[in-house]
């Protein structure tokens, strides 16, 4: 609300009236603003549904995901197999729901790893500048020069396969991009006088970074991570495709999609359904990310 004209002396008089209405906590504010965002709520619902499906996979599926039934290969959707069966006669719905566990888990972990590293490196480089900045950024430049997938292949060849190891392999190639983003944002925020004010009132470097700078970097962090989740799901499938990611018969969205590629012309369910899941996930995370970014910005308070 825009503060209207009030004379200097008269301000106190209506204080008591407004005071009651103005008591609220910051977390409550953020939550309230999030609830008011319709698109954000759609995103949140989709994410919740996806999480529910993957956590309670056993309840929502009729067939085990690895059960092959060669008599029932390439079945189009019907009441028994609601999304049809694949080239080994496995239930696509079961595979997708179980596959969500791996895809989502690995995507989220890898985004978390690359963001954590990116935030630490980026904020240190951006805040301190000078030699620290040059050293960190040149190392990251070298890392960036190696193609992402190649790096992931090399790392997972070294670490071996498995969800966490795959996540680590993918996250490394994501570090330079997020570190660069954080660094430039930190540098622009650092030039604000309120950061200088914090130093002038005795804040230590750590306090300045954590209390004054990072909360203001949150918008690009959130946008970056929601986009990152989508990209990472694709990267996992890339790794799985060449046999370094998640090993069959463990289902995973990307690998289901790539295994359906040879049958693209004649059997659409193997392409459409996994694509649908990936798309829905990206869509939901993007909506949620945008809504979160808005909710965390006190300037948009209404």
């Amino acid at each position: 609300m825009i503060i209207t004209m009030l004379t200097g002396g008269g301000e106190e008089q209506i204080e008591s009236l407004e005071n009651a209405a103005r008591r609220h906590t910051q977390a409550g504010d953020v939550f309230r603003r999030l609830l008011n965002n319709k698109l954000g709520m759609i995103g949140l619902c989709i994410v919740i549904v996806l999480l529910f499906l993957t956590i309670f996979s056993g309840v929502v599926t009729k067939f085990p995901y690895e059960e092959q039934d060669f008599g029932n290969r390439f079945q189009f959707p019907d009441p028994v197999h609601i999304m049809g069966t694949d080239n080994f006669g496995r239930d696509i719905w079961s595979r997708l729901v179980y596959g969500g566990r791996i895809s989502l888990l690995v995507a989220v972990i890898s985004v978390a790893i690359s963001l954590t590293c990116g935030v630490i490196l980026g904020s240190v480089a951006g805040y301190f500048g000078g030699k620290v900045d040059i050293t960190i950024m040149r190392i990251l430049d070298i890392l960036m020069a190696i193609p992402g997938l190649l790096m992931a292949i090399a790392v997972s060849a070294m670490l071996g396969s498995g969800p966490v190891k795959t996540a680590m392999a993918i996250s490394i190639s994501g570090i330079p991009a997020s570190a660069r983003l954080i660094r430039s944002t930190v540098m622009s925020i650092k030039s604000n006088e309120y950061v200088e004010a914090a130093v002038a009132t005795g804040s230590t470097n750590r306090r300045v970074i954590f209390r004054h700078i990072l909360p203001n970097v949150i918008a690009p962090i959130i946008v970056n991570s929601t986009l990152g989740i989508g990209g990472n799901i694709m990267a996992i499938s890339g790794l799985s495709f060449i046999g370094l990611g998640v090993q069959p018969p463990t289902p995973e969205w990307g690998s289901i999609l790539s295994s359906g590629r040879p049958y693209l012309r004649d059997f659409w369910p193997m392409i459409v359904f996994p694509s649908l899941f990936i798309m829905l996930t990206l869509f939901a995370f993007n909506l949620l990310g945008d809504a979160l970014r808005d909710a965390l910005d006190p300037k948009l308070k209404k």
Partner: protein
């Protein structure tokens, strides 16, 4: 009166690709307790850098800063952090100087948290209310965010934040130049009241000559990093000695149609502070400049009692 701050031959250079930028070049002055030193000059003259260097927000390249009898030029760590409790700053821009994610009470109490000055949340709240009352900010704004408030109120938050640690000394860096005239007058009155009631000492950095005359006891005139003139405020306006000060004073548009305009319009523009030549900084624009001015940096001398000028020809020009 006791001397609170003494600055001796202070220099602050910044490295740039084109060479050393002499932002503050050999500046010396003293400030007595409870008084205000006005620092005036045009943009890029180093007045803001001077204020920040004195506070040790920037590290001086050379020179000495003695605060309250203590040499603070080189202190660091815990000692420097504790110094912050005694010296504060008020910024020009009431928008960028307040963290947009903090509410008013969080902004004002942030320094209290940093120094863990209040043991309980209730203590802290009490102190925030005290400060809000002191700067004339209605308590109902405690949960507002800075973007919801106008420039004048935001500037009051900045002042309350600076006062929260009970400092003795405050650098005011153009605190009113972003505000409308009527609000500007309110804030100037507030700063004056605070000086009287709390006994603060100010360095008041500004480009506005009428504001600086109103609030300062002494005035220091800077030009491209160098100090050209320092004298008690009234005397400077009555009898400016340096040709730059004369030009500066006559350039001010006076809100009156009765004053005959005898304008000395200074020609030319400010010279670059990067690797300046060994000469009087003002000589490219000075109507009196001669060969000596172009080859020799003028010494800073007490031409009249308490009136310091750095100009080779000051006696000649003013018939002293």
């Amino acid at each position: 009166m006791a001397e609170l701050l003494r600055v001796e031959h202070l220099k602050k250079y910044f490295p740039t690709p084109a060479g050393m930028l002499h932002a503050v070049d050999d500046v010396s002055f003293t400030v007595e307790t409870g008084t205000t030193l006005g620092v005036v000059g045009e943009s890029g003259c180093g007045k803001s850098t001077l204020g920040r260097t004195v506070l040790r927000l920037l590290n001086p390249t050379d020179g000495k800063i003695i605060f309250d009898g203590r040499d603070i030029t080189k202190i660091k760590g815990k000692e420097l952090q504790n110094l912050r409790r005694e010296m504060q700053i008020i910024f020009q821009d009431p928008f960028s100087s307040l963290n947009p994610r903090f509410s008013v009470s969080e902004l004002i109490s942030d320094p209290l948290r940093t120094f863990k000055l209040c043991r309980t949340a209730a203590d802290r709240k009490k102190r925030v209310y005290e400060l809000m009352d002191l700067v004339g900010l209605a308590r109902r704004f405690e949960n507002s965010y800075p973007h919801e408030l106008d420039g004048g109120r935001r500037q009051r938050i900045g002042i309350a934040r600076a006062l929260s640690l009970d400092p003795k000394f405050i650098v005011c860096d153009e605190p009113v130049s972003a505000l409308d005239v009527s609000i500007q007058a309110q804030i100037l009155n507030l700063l004056q009241d605070l000086q009287e009631s709390v006994g603060l000492t100010y360095i008041f950095v500004t480009h506005d000559m009428s504001v600086v005359r109103h609030i300062s006891d002494d005035i220091l005139v800077m030009y491209v990093g160098a100090m050209l003139e320092k004298s008690p405020s009234k005397e400077l306006f009555k009898k400016p000695l340096h040709p730059y000060t004369k030009g500066l004073l006559s350039a001010i548009p006076i809100p009156s149609i009765d004053v005959p305009k005898t304008k000395v319009v200074l020609q030319g523009e400010l010279s670059s502070p990067i690797e300046p030549k060994k000469q009087c900084r003002f000589c490219p624009r000075c109507p009196y400049a001669d060969e000596r001015c172009q080859n020799e940096v003028p010494a800073y001398e007490e031409v009249l009692p308490n009136h310091f000028v750095a100009c080779h020809k000051v006696r000649e020009i003013n018939g002293l």
